[in-house]
Symmetry: D2
Subunit: 160 residues, 4 copies
């Protein structure tokens, strides 16, 4: 019934970098302003900042949690999905998103980037992992300087 695209935001729960958290907040705002639903891992840090940004603009947020209780969700998640799967839930975040923004990130975020590449999901990077494979290839997805550019890129990709 809802035909709004779902945009995933991936990043760590434990970012010590205030500028990454600020970027995530702006990503959330951009997603909501464009009328898309924001989906993430539902926890704190980058995830919470993105949800907070989306709610500030009246958007809708979904959290795919690693644990078995919805109580671990950050307070800006509208719809909590408790998977009980630990990090295997990272694949669900990718499969359920039409496109994704990686915002900073640690090893968990890297696994989500990998799944996004595997499934050919449009992916925009903001100060996140850069990759070179065993054959020396690079540039698997574009990196941006601002939340606005990153989200604009994804919407352009989804139009095609």
């Amino acid at each position: 019934m809802e035909n709004k695209p779902i945009i995933g935001v991936i990043g760590t729960a434990s970012s010590h970098d205030a500028s990454i958290v600020e970027l995530a907040f702006e990503v959330g705002r951009e997603i909501a302003r464009r009328g898309a639903v924001l989906l993430c891992g539902g926890l704190g840090g980058v995830m919470e900042a993105a949800c907070r940004g989306a709610k500030k603009e009246g958007g809708i947020t979904i959290g795919i949690l690693p644990g078995s209780s919805v109580s671990e969700a950050n307070p800006f998640v509208d719809y909590c999905i408790a998977t009980g799967l630990g990090e295997a839930r990272n694949l669900i975040i990718v499969l359920s998103s039409s496109a994704l923004v990686a915002c900073g990130g640690g090893a968990g975020t890297l696994s989500e980037i990998a799944f996004a590449l595997k499934h050919g999901k449009p992916l925009a990077g903001l100060r996140t992992w850069q990759l070179r494979n065993g054959s020396g290839q690079e540039g698997f997805f574009p990196q941006f300087e601002s939340a606005r550019e990153a989200v604009a890129y994804l919407f352009k990709r989804l139009e095609v």
Copy 2:
């Protein structure tokens, strides 16, 4: 942000029994009338009928899909979660629901009943499985005749 309870509806995609499908439709209506969110496996049959009922009353529906594409969801699902996990997604349906209604059902529904019992989730049955364990115990959850009674029972349980 949303403080609406999430009620799960479990039942088969392939019910040949029109009265079960009608029951599921009424279950969906009752859930939406009471302001709760309906969550299910997102496919056809009982799941689709319940979603259709909820949408008729202006409710919100979430589908937790077994496959890796949101395109398999029935047309009455608002928010589609693509898990790619096959029937392992049945556990997610249970963990994400505050309480559940089992409406008819085959082996997949039985697995969801089992997970609901395991996690102590309030569960109401409508023409579904009856169980006796190896020690001869029965009556693990109540069975009802109408959608209204089943849903009313769950809300009463959630109040406590």
Copy 3:
């Protein structure tokens, strides 16, 4: 390379019934005597007793654990698979087994019985759940009095 069949044994980690534990031990012995590999959830109670029985006869045992560390396996598991999936690993136990014995059991075992029925896996019951579906059908799998009979039934089914 190994062409030995894999037989799953399902039952609770916390059986307070010594006769169920004794039955599980005999099930493990029978499986090993017939040259099959025993697969289970890798924890204590029925699972440990079955593994202990298999090892007494020189058999091989595999444990599919719910947690993320192999250290939670009982000491009679040869090959530990750490899934980190919680009870979603119950589906893996069923899919990886050619046939299964249910020995007593609680709600987790019921979910495994459900998945075995769903996937058409031969299943033998020993003092376990009895089922009646919403249409009044019963007898979804046979129940036996002894480990020997239960395991013999499964091997007969696998010969076909």
Copy 4:
């Protein structure tokens, strides 16, 4: 009962590079010569070559399959685990291994590298992904030129 370490081998099913397949074969031989069990994703390409190498040296192999049938395993897998989870099974490969070798690899392998870093598992690379995180850090795991060196490194790490 078995106290042999389990070494995971990760890499793609569809390598077009004969030298990568040859490397994987040698990795499998090294693992078996040292008395460890080889665990992998159970499919073709790098996975099959590694299993073939292990079996040539009389080793034992375990395959954690993405699908729901053990029939998709390569012929050099001794013990097949059918997960039905798709790529979510990549996490199981990492959690069940004491240490891992990444041999070439595509996006799926990258997800396994990510999970290995997340869980602090010793990891050796052979012509595989090189990573730089958003803060510019590199060198998350060592890369080697030969199978012998890669496997020797892992055993040294496990001794500590």
